[in-house]
Amino acid sequence: MSKLNKNSSGYIFGFALLVILVCGVLLSVVSGALAEKQYEERELERKKFILKAALGDKMDEVEKPDIAVMYDKRVKESVVNSKGEVVEGLAANTVKLKNEYKKLEKNGSLKAGESINLPVYEVMNEDGSAVDFYVVPTYGFGLWDNIWGYVALQKDLNTINGVVLDHKGETPGLGARITEDKIQKRYSAGKKIFEGDKLVSVTMQKGEGNDYSSDPHAVDGMSGATLTADGVNTMMANYMNLYLSFINAKKS
């Protein structure tokens, strides 16, 4: 065979095609091989978040394999719509919160003609005889990208037991602090979402280091991350509103 001309278009195209094929095959093999493990990790995180919102710090000490066992034992999943009716035949873990969030208008109300699927996680007491906490997922937008979280309500469906917040791209050290226990605990100190019969949600305030222990609807803010806090507030208000029918139905 004569020497190939490495500058001919044919050679260049051929070479490019070959490299692309090799890289493509490599990537699809890796991605295929790891997909199941990645899904497990995400599921485990979801379960941990739900349990942590309800049961608090002690979840940090629970080993990974035990989280799934505990979840299966204590959590009852269901899906409701914005009218509070149970959506039959839909598993809570298959609801993609990100897609459901897209059904909302800018002001948080449901787009006309849309029906939203809202997962509800009932965390039962130790012997499984009664519901201890109602955990509901929330989804919204922070400063840069999506944020989400789980809110655990106590049996009265009014007092917040705990929240777990997470984000995709908030600024480290500022908005990303919503993932810190210290910030999330601010929601745990007997904050309430109702004032009488009226839903008022809980609002993170501007500025940091203030005492809001006397106000059940306000929590201390994050200095330098007011816009992320605004996102959290909107998310909380929107979703508490979406779950309102469910909450009222459970209360009566």
């Binding site: 490495k6 500058n7 050679y11 260049i12 070479f15 490019a16 490299v19 692309i20 890289c23 490599l26 990537l27 890796v30 991605s31 790891l34 493990k37 990645q38 990790e41 995400r42 485990l44 995180e45 995709k168 791209g169 480290p172 050290g173 330098g224």
Partner: protein
Amino acid sequence: MSTETQAVEAEVKEREPLFSKKNRKLISNPLDADNPITVQVLGVCSALAVTVKLIPTLYMCISVLFVLIFSNVAISLLRNVIPGRIRIIVQLLVVASLVAVVDQVLQAFAYDVSKQLSVFVGLIITNCIIMGRLEAFALANKPGPAFLDAVGNGLGYAVILIPVAFFRELFGSGSLFGFNILGENYPGNGVMMSPVGACIVLGLLIWFQRSRNGYTEEA
């Protein structure tokens, strides 16, 4: 391009052992006198971005080392068949594929860390150290030396990032590897948590290194 590489190879005609004196320099030089970050001032972006905590930093260093080794060796193996006109995009493709592999592996086996590193794993693709080594070394050298060069530069990257992360985690959050060191009452230091802190620590490291080595920037 091809005549260039052939000329370089002709110079090293006699087969030299992998760990010859010259080759050992490939590892030792980037650690100090020719460090990619402090001397060549490449890859500074990630040195500022991922050094808030030690554990993610360690994962980042391992990821960069992995990508650097495999891409350097791969490009070195391909050096005589890559068409000169598309060599950059081929390098980019190889690097991007390797980074995607790293990202997938982290998501499967170190989920928490992969969340903390978030976009910065993907940004390894644009890390100048990697493209720099591919262009400057792998394209003109055999796989053996290319491997050593990658190890050297990967470690040279780590040897700067880890001290930066050490000081940032210690003074920023009062802990090391997530364990509290400075006590519960340490209020934390916002400057150290932000990239500004990294800039300061890195500047001090460069100062220290240059005053010790007597290195000065050529005009």
